[in-house]
């Protein structure tokens, strides 16, 4: 199953200029539970998608919104020379291909 079959929102954004956060909002409890237990969404798996070490990624369940929050270090501080996305609003792409 693809992430987009069970998630209604996959959004990325800075949480301050040194941190990127990606929110996955699921359609229902079943999808949320499935994602919560998926190996494709562990810190190690997500770190590989973003070229980071596993200790730079945190995966936080947020049941009130049937959501999972992924928090990771930015490779560059937002707006540093060489940055590609100052707001971090277009960094969700690598997650769209994951299967759960």
């Amino acid at each position: 199953m693809n992430l987009l079959d069970i998630a209604r929102v996959v959004r990325s954004k800075n949480a301050g200029p040194t941190t990127l956060t990606i929110d996955l909002l699921f359609n229902d409890r079943a999808g949320y539970d499935r994602a919560l237990n998926a190996t494709a969404l562990t810190p190690t798996a997500v770190a590989a998608l973003y070229r980071l070490r596993a200790d730079q990624v945190e995966v936080i369940p947020y049941p009130p919104a049937l959501a999972i929050k992924i928090v990771m270090d930015r490779a560059l501080v937002a707006g540093d020379p060489g940055d590609r996305d100052v707001y971090g609003a277009q960094q969700h792409g690598p997650l769209l291909g994951v299967t759960l």
Binding site: P17, P64, G79, P81, R84, Y87, Q90
Partner: protein, 467 residues
Amino acid sequence: MTALERLRREVSGPDGKLAPLRILAASGQLGYGIPEVALAEGVKRRPHFIGCDMGSIDPGPYYLGSGQLATSEAMTRADLVKVLKAARALDVPLLLGTAGTAGAAPHLEKTLALVRDIAKTEGLHFRLASIRADMPRDRVRAAVRAGRVTPLGAIAPLTEQDVDEATHLVAQMGIEAFQRALDAGADVVIAGRACDTAVFAAIPAALGYPLGPALHMAKIIECCSICTTPGGRDALLGTLDGDSFVIDSMNPIRHATPMSVAAHSLYEQGDPYRVIEPEGVLDTRAARYEAIDEHRCRVSGGQWTPATQFTVKLEGAVRVGERAVLLAGCADPAAIAAMKDILPAVEKNVRELVAPSVRDAFELHHRVYGIDGVVAWPTAVQSAPREVFVMVECIAGSADTAKSVVTVFKQYLLHHGFPGRISTGGNLAFPFTPPEVVCGTAYRFNVYHVMQVDDLETLFPVTLETL
């Protein structure tokens, strides 16, 4: 009697209970246009005060570094007219946080100049408080030496040199600073860099409403109707009622549902359950989100723990150099396929060509949009796109050097020969000429740290004037 004292009298019942407090969030980013119909609806609900957020660190280091606003003067002025007239017509306080995008002295001064001019031309009279957020460098240096400054996330430890080099260095003020301005008798408070939440939580805190729900409400309403579905920028009413609060969009098509409001608590937060303020921590682990009807949501359960040590978030930006860019497209399959090799080859050539003529050091960055301009993908592109867009950026010690480098890059990229080339007329399509654009000074954030402080009052001085 001050505006705050009037409010206190209005909401205090004979039994010592506080009446529901209505707070109108008029703008989450003042200066981009405030939708008028929803604002007018909000004014009809007779809010006890109006709050606006005007800035953020999100737009990047340029604004803090340069002292410039991200919003245009015409739009900023128009939005300020709307909220000033609304607040004065109701005779209630207006609180505005992070003046002029980044909230340093030049941003605050430009915003205050507009406010003073509007008061004059619109015939408005009020007591105006301004609060500076620029940090005294000596105090920050002393804190660095004392080990009282730590990085916020993935950034190097702060040095005294960073403190000296930052063109502007601010800290985010909390509710304490707004309360001092209100206690001094302000009707309108224009603050430099401020926590978004402080704009909306300062008055509830001063009046004695519980801080947990007040801060949680402030966190949600500061972006106006972004917490609704479908989200938007319309004014939002928060009603604080004892241990809970109600979220109500002033646009009838934007519904605050338990799911949309809960999801907003996540937004732009590294930790979805904890919001750290200078004076304490908001914890939303026990929060409950309940529908009142299809349009409104009630939220309860936010917990506030006062800090044992005050802290402030420091933000600073430093000049990196002068920036120029080259903008061009390409639709040749062979050039697109070879682009990842062509760009470094041209760069090498350009560096050799300009070396005898330009004196400044420079750095080059190139992006191929359509391939990996936006994301550092973990895998190679599956199939080549029909067209790509190429952006070459040079940051140099002077604008002349930056422009020289991208100009030479343009010509050598246009005519670069590579194996399998068929489009020998040129490798690039320019949407206009000149395709080299001088962008002005480039900055980077060199300060994003948290500093322990023992006294908030002297860091954020209040100035009062009567208009």
